[in-house]
Amino acid sequence: MNDSQPSHNSANEVDEHRRNFIGASAALAGLTVAPGVVVYGLAHAKPDSEPVTDKVRWGMLVDATKCAEGCTDCVSACHTENAVQSGALETDPHWIRKVELKDMRTGRSQSLPVLCQHCEEPPCVDVCPTGASFKRVDGIVLVDRHICIGCRYCVMACPYKARSFIHETLTEQNPDVPRGKGCVESCTMCVHRVDRGQQPACVEACSKAGHNAIIFGDLNDPNSDIAKRVAGHPTSQLRADLALNPGVRYEGL
């Protein structure tokens, strides 16, 4: 016991130092948290050289009450941004589509965009045999086309019909959005824009059209618009029964 006493004391001293240090660094961290929020907010992109972090969970909130029937601005903006030629053939890829819902009893109709829901537990990732389907730590679900073998298991697994397969040879791709024949693809939440601190093309187009039906942001940041809306309003997930916890949520369904 006696032997251990001095070392215990010195351990206390060390603890004190550590406490002081931790206290000081916590204060520093407190200072940096506020700018940190800005860093990962929409105003400023993360530095190019830094990897994305799991502190952020990107998400979208679609307000179905504001989504105008017949308006396809989000769809065309998406397809322009990502150079997707869609609509000519049934097998053409689609990244986002407008769905019209009608209650046959009451006659109430609704319109909303459906896209990759960027699930927390994505079934497409579960079934992918090569690891091409993956979820980035910030919650964006992507296909690594370098590894995709085009088996289309993920197309079958996705309950939202969000994935499509490229059947034709493509040209004139957007340099930021490489796409090619033989791979599966889906909405990337405009990851190339998000990494630069911009909003996804559909969100931008919707607000440009004056509807503001889609908002985009960090679900993990309590100060973000989207987190406040989700906390303060009743919102729902598509197929919540599947417990996939999608990053895309709907209001007014």
Partner: protein, 159 residues
């Protein structure tokens, strides 16, 4: 005194003959090679865009560009790291031909020319755009940030 035996003489003459023959054969074959081999690609790069230097030494790039690209590809895809230096877009922004604004098209074009010469297939362009990105307002050209080009050329930009 050292004297060569008969047998050793024969060996020495034999070796000398083989040496002479092989030198002659090599000379003949290399002359024939020059006439029949595929000509090395002549690639023109617009130095006013690229400056005098690649992002790494030319000899290093010749041997290792694929490793850099592969490394960057995984970092960008999975971690969202989008540094310009070793990105494919940065390659294209300098190496696209002045004629058709692309790294593909003919054997005069940067990527296609060398890969045809080396008979190595090019899979990048099944998906990636072979033309540089359209200049966007507010986004500086990729080269200025990474390559210190000669002062005479980009002096106005860097100061």
């Amino acid at each position: 005194m050292f004297r060569l035996s008969n047998r050793m003489w024969k060996w020495a003459v034999g070796i000398l003959a083989v040496l002479l023959l092989s030198v002659g054969a090599y000379a003949a074959s290399s002359a024939a090679d020059k006439a029949s081999r595929t000509a090395k690609p002549e690639i023109v790069i617009d130095r006013s865009k690229s400056g005098d230097k690649c992002v790494e030494e030319t000899t290093f790039m010749r041997k290792n560009h694929m490793k850099l690209l592969m490394h960057q590809r995984d970092d960008t895809m999975h971690k969202g790291i989008r540094t310009e230096k070793h990105s494919l877009q940065n390659c294209i922004s300098c190496h696209a031909s002045t004629k058709n604004n692309s790294v593909l098209g003919s054997n005069e074009n940067f990527c296609q020319g060398c890969h045809t010469y080396a008979a190595v297939s090019l899979d990048c362009w099944e998906c990636h755009a072979s033309k540089p990105k359209q200049a966007q307002p507010g986004i500086a050209p990729a080269v200025a940030a990474t390559v210190p080009a000669p002062a005479a050329k980009v002096g106005a930009d860097t100061k």
